[in-house]
């Protein structure tokens, strides 16, 4: 299966403070021009990938999650479950048309898998 890490996501109990920190530290641009008000972070430069910041529920620690683009979300989830993963957010079509799900791998680490909607040229 072709699978590429396309995005990192920081789950932060203080998303605004986190965005401000990384803007000031690395000069990353943070925008929220999307239907979820999701903080999209331009961090890629020449070699890297972009990311985003999502709020953590009260009392939960922050962590970093990777998003992996796959050709077929349902097939990927079926394989993941067969290999011992647990689906914690089922397939979900976001308002921008991208589809994603969140897994807990067999070692307890969460990651996102997604398929991207076609982007305007």
């Amino acid at each position: 299966m072709e699978a590429t890490v396309i995005r990192w996501q920081l789950i932060s109990p203080e998303p605004e403070a986190a965005a401000s920190f990384y803007q000031r530290l690395f000069g990353w641009a943070v925008t929220q021009d999307n239907h979820l008000g999701y903080r999209e972070v331009k961090s890629s430069g020449v070699h890297g990938i972009d990311g985003g910041i999502w709020p953590a529920p009260a009392g939960q620690p922050g962590f970093v999650q990777l998003f992996v683009e796959v050709p077929n979300l349902d097939a990927c989830l079926a394989s993941a479950v067969r290999l011992g993963a647990k689906v914690i957010v089922p397939p979900t079509v976001l308002p921008d048309g991208d589809a994603m799900a969140i897994l807990l791998d067999p070692t307890g680490v969460s990651l996102g898998v997604c398929t991207l909607a076609p982007r305007p040229a």
């Binding site: 008000g37 979900t92 079509v93």
Partner: protein, 131 residues
């Protein structure tokens, strides 16, 4: 935790112990006005976060129980909008309609998705569990 149900149960318990115990007395004990309490219990008025915390503390709930009550109210507020005729799959619209901060709306959406209580089928079509 459904604070509304907890309040009703507590009122019923007190009235069973003392048949003359009134809603007005209960409201006074909770530090709120009886018409406010009446609207919450009988007319489904939304509980604000401040009201949820205050009533929860007066009922002797733990921090975890109060957090659960807050989440319950936020979940209900967001879910109530899904069948709305002018529904928009947009967190800012949900924030405006519920009065919740944008980040709190997104935390609520994540909780509802994880709990399979909300499904986002397409970019515009969301359904609540059981609909």
């Amino acid at each position: 935790m459904d604070l509304r149900a907890r309040l009703s149960a507590e009122l019923e318990r007190r009235q069973k112990a003392n048949p003359r115990y009134s809603l007005r007395a209960f409201a006074k004990n909770l530090g709120t006005h009886h018409t406010t309490l009446l609207r919450v219990l009988r007319q489904g008025r939304r509980l604000t976060p401040a009201m949820t915390r205050r009533l929860g503390q007066r009922l002797g709930l733990t921090h975890a129980q109060i957090a659960g009550a807050l989440a319950h109210e936020q979940d209900a507020a967001v879910l109530s909008l899904v069948p709305h005729s002018s529904f928009r799959s947009d967190s800012r619209w949900l924030a405006m309609m519920t009065g919740l901060p944008l980040d709190q709306v997104n935390i609520t959406l994540q909780r509802l998705l994880s709990g399979r209580r909300l499904t986002m089928h397409t970019a515009r079509t969301w359904t609540r569990e059981g609909t």
